[in-house]
Symmetry: C2
Subunit: 357 residues, 2 copies
DNA sequence: TCCCTGCGGGAAAGGGCTTTCTCTGCGGTA
DNA sequence: TACCGCAGAGAAAGCCCTTTCCCGCAGGGA
């Protein structure tokens, strides 16, 4: 690899001058020398060693991001928002997938700290695991003590800046919708128990049911991986235990899609026989058939805000931005079948026509 | 930030010794000193400066990856394969999204070179753009000249190691399937014209039709963005121009999903009235309704192989691994409607039942 | 004419780490 | 007893940049 001194030597100038030309320093350099340096750079295909630059420069610029999995649409959307702001500010993003492994998360905090990132963003559910939470907070505190900025998206455990989707309110919306459609036998397809996102959404759901005098026994809940196959499997178990279920609330859209697959495999019509609601409103939700009724979270916006928080002015008090959830009615949730209903209602038909686009 | 000399001072040893303990050097250190160093590390929450390490160490370890967009399922799958091998070998991956912008791609090659990556992998279609191709090849050659390894996935333009999905054969399979089902009026929903992937797949398709004495006029092809909305829009234009179409070949699954949305909006039954085939077999393909008939590419495997190529022994001659495409029959492709058929055939019904899972 | 100023350029000091080289002191052999 | 070898630790030389500091020179004011 050509180095700066190679360039300088070839151009017949000092490394200092070469550096100034290459970085567009404010210090003036005569056109003559500038040309020579630029020519040498081109001839040698010189690219500055980023590590040497970062070592020599004092200010840190890159931002580290830890998500569960960027290829999961939930995080893909959030990341899109993070990217947007970062790119606008000329920041490089280092994105790490923890694959929902707390240890890996801890390791990545170290790794990113070692890479001298200016800020750290943790996106994705926290864990009900005190030992882990304590360790993480220690590491984050150590990082912040050295001037690093931290923001979290959707997790309570950190005491600093945070962007919080209103998971509980979202759960409530999903629950209320199903209740209003007359459903009484509602099963829940939930993500891993250890995730706070799961319990938050579940709490909202439970509250909505409680307002209708319904309770949500554990046998009506199945915990599984937060993905398509987890949803399919949990739905199957739910249906096996309780064939009379008329509605399924899935705690994210991937699981909802898995639920739809299971229902289709069992020839249970959606929404005529069983209604389904999802959560997140990922892009694919409108393209499955029937189109998925779900709870929308402003994912891109969450990313935008978190990045703004972390790149903006430092606030004395930690800022917590709660972003609202919103029900999106499509075609998978309809009135409960007559036989199973507690109240009179309209004929069981989809709420909306096909999704024109 | 605590530095190595802080640790050394605190432990009462030299930086050299501290470094040896921290990195588990082969040089022996007495237990006494080792303990002291470790204690100091813990107390100071010391994390080595990655840039300083990379600068001091001679060997490069990270691998750079340039894809169009990791959140696109096509690349998400490839990346999964790349990750798997990289993680096994303890390599860090730096993933960059070019968002199909050639200039950005060029910039990222520089950036990654600057970050001293040991190897570079470019995934995703090449461009029909000679100026760009030449520039890219120059940059890659310069990088290889300094000992960097390069592999590409799915692009012809590079002369070194490559993993190539057989796009042309895949296009052929899709075309043949539609022909065998009796379709004669086939529209193509294509990606951007400038991408070699588009033209390769199209060439295979055209060949299959040609074998049936059918040609594929330009008016039966619509080029659009390689995503869901592009597919929806292209399908609409195709149908407007030629309402008698009985089949749509989409050049990737995202576009196929867009096509299905348009067909649904226009109440054209799939596959009874119009058949659809996709390309790639991304995970969601089996979950749309009807489940998508498509051409499968071994995406994860493509990633695995590319990374193995680049981390394995250097070969004198460039290696090109061509991975076969395979037709996956699901429910969106059925026999052409009687009125439109050239040959007798079975009743128009799906090829398969619901996707049990 | 002399001094001061300011400009353009180079020398050199880091930045934090790894690693080679060197040094000390010990045990073992002749 | 004299010498050799080696284990274990430290000194110091880089790795490749950026940036401060300093120097020489030319031009302008006194």
């Amino acid at each position: 690899m050509a180095t700066l001194s190679d360039v300088a030597r070839r151009a017949g100038v000092s490394p200092a001058t070469a550096s100034r030309v290459i970085n567009g320093s404010s210090k003036p350099v005569t056109d003559e020398l500038r040309e020579r340096v630029l020519a040498a750079v081109a001839e040698l295909q010189y690219v500055p060693n980023a590590h040497a630059q970062l070592l020599a420069r004092s200010h840190r610029s890159a931002v580290g991001v830890i998500v569960h999995d960027v290829s999961d649409p939930y995080f893909a959307e959030i990341t899109r928002g993070l990217q947007r702001v970062a790119t606008d500010q000329g920041r490089l993003l280092m994105i790490c997938n923890s694959y929902r492994d707390p240890d890996r998360e801890l390791e990545y905090v170290e790794l990113l700290r070692g890479h001298q990132v200016a800020a750290l963003i943790l996106a994705g559910s926290g864990y009900h695991d005190d030992a882990f939470t304590r360790q993480l907070n220690e590491k984050l505190a150590a990082y912040e003590a050295t001037g690093g900025r931290v923001a979290v998206i959707g997790r309570h455990e950190h005491s600093g800046d945070a962007v919080m989707p209103d998971n509980r309110a979202g759960g409530y919306l999903a629950g209320r919708e199903l209740c209003e459609l007359g459903h009484r036998a509602i099963g829940v397809v939930a993500g891993p128990r250890i995730l706070t996102t799961t319990t938050d959404r579940l709490a909202g759901l439970r509250q909505a049911l409680a307002e209708q005098g319904l309770d949500l026994p554990e046998r009506r809940i199945r915990y599984a991986e937060f993905d398509r196959d987890g949803g399919a499997e949990a739905t199957a178990r739910l249906l096996d235990a309780d064939p009379e279920l008329t509605a399924i609330a899935a705690l994210n859209d991937s699981m909802a899609i898995g639920a739809l697959a299971t229902l289709r495999a069992r020839s249970l019509a959606v929404p005529q026989r069983v209604s389904v609601v999802g959560f997140d409103d990922m892009p694919i939700a409108r393209d499955v058939t029937p189109a998925l009724t779900t709870v929308r979270l402003p994912l891109v916006d969450m990313g935008v805000r978190a990045m703004s928080l972390v790149l903006g002015v430092e606030a004395p008090a930690p800022r917590v931005e709660v972003l609202p959830a919103e029900l999106v009615r499509r075609d998978t949730a309809g009135p409960a079948p007559q036989a199973a209903r507690g109240t009179a209602g309209v004929a069981p038909s989809p709420r909306r026509g096909a999704d024109g686009s």
